[in-house]
Symmetry: C2
Subunit: 200 residues, 2 copies
């Protein structure tokens, strides 16, 4: 064992522990506890094991799961930017790029490069794996928000057009999942008033 290499890996493993403290706007299905980034990533990794059969294109499951496990790590330094926080989103890319250099720099160079390029691949949204990962990243909070009777949507006066814009690429990973999500998670919650209908 190369001790210097191992210590770098351990330093990274200790540092990313902080992701468990980064809270998201979504509530768990109990409707009381805010989800954190690590829980969110764990949930999507299992969802990918179960739902990859609905991907538009066959995907490399390990690569997709790896991407999902690490895609929010930059938030350890850059913080979570809520999907509907238009101000925060203006500086998000710059904050996250700086965070990526700092965080992935802790790892041995080969592994740091590998994780950073997985993250960049997710952000670029061009490969089948990145597209399916994005589908999971949009579908999972819809499931939680629906299960919590729209609590986070109602707290933020979320409007239908925001949700549709947020989900503009959900179909690119899976037409099947998007078709279900649109009708049974989004439109259902527009009809019951949990999401504000601004389409009229």
């Amino acid at each position: 064992m190369d001790r210097e290499r191992f210590e770098k890996q351990l330093a990274f493993i200790r540092e990313i522990d902080k992701e468990k403290l980064i809270k998201r706007q979504s509530y768990l299905t109990d409707g009381e506890t805010h989800e954190d980034d690590a829980q969110h990533a764990w949930h999507m990794a299992i969802m990918t094991l179960l739902l990859n059969e609905y991907s538009n294109t066959e995907i490399d499951v390990l690569k997709t799961i790896s991407m999902l496990l690490i895609h929010d790590l930059v938030e350890v330094y850059a913080g979570d930017t809520y999907a509907y926080d238009e101000e925060g989103k203006k500086t998000q890319a710059e904050r996250e790029a700086k965070a990526a250099d700092k965080l992935y720099g802790i790892l041995p160079p080969d592994q740091g490069e590998n994780f950073k390029s997985l993250w960049l691949e997710f952000e670029a949204q061009e490969t089948p794996e990145a597209k399916f990962a994005r589908t999971m990243d949009c579908f999972q909070p819809l499931i939680l928000n629906d299960a919590a009777d729209g609590k986070a949507w109602k707290e933020h006066d979320v409007q239908r057009s925001w949700v549709m814009k947020r989900n503009q690429n959900t179909s690119k990973g899976s037409e099947d999942i998007w078709e279900y999500a649109r009708e049974h998670l989004i439109e259902k919650n527009v009809r019951n008033g949990n999401i504000i209908d601004d389409s009229k």
Copy 2:
């Protein structure tokens, strides 16, 4: 899309959300927040991406990560059994077997069988993937307990012999990791008094 199949998958995805509420005895590196099962699984999945190079035998990384992601799901019904809770451990196997049938029965049969056999493979500790997964499952709380200055160990008056017994199979997945863990995480914390030295 087979709607009946998809609804079963979604029901399972909603049900396992409860794993995020199952608290463990370990504290996060902040020394204040108890870790939950989902965070624990997420952390070990990333650790496996980084540390599989130290496995005694080459492993299928996707299989190992899948095992780690789901190995505590039975606790949704069976609860967490602390590593040093000797009373709880007497009924643990029976409680968890019942929980597995109930939980994996929610999924479509092919996927339920697949997850259940992954869990049984982890429990049986015979394959290289199961052995490495166990190494992660023992190594990860050592890292957290050490980073939190032994808080959970001190609260439970944990003794050196308990930790050594708990880690009797850690070397079977990785001699290298065990060698490091024994000296730099366990014996170090015996020397500084965070773990009670009952060897004399």
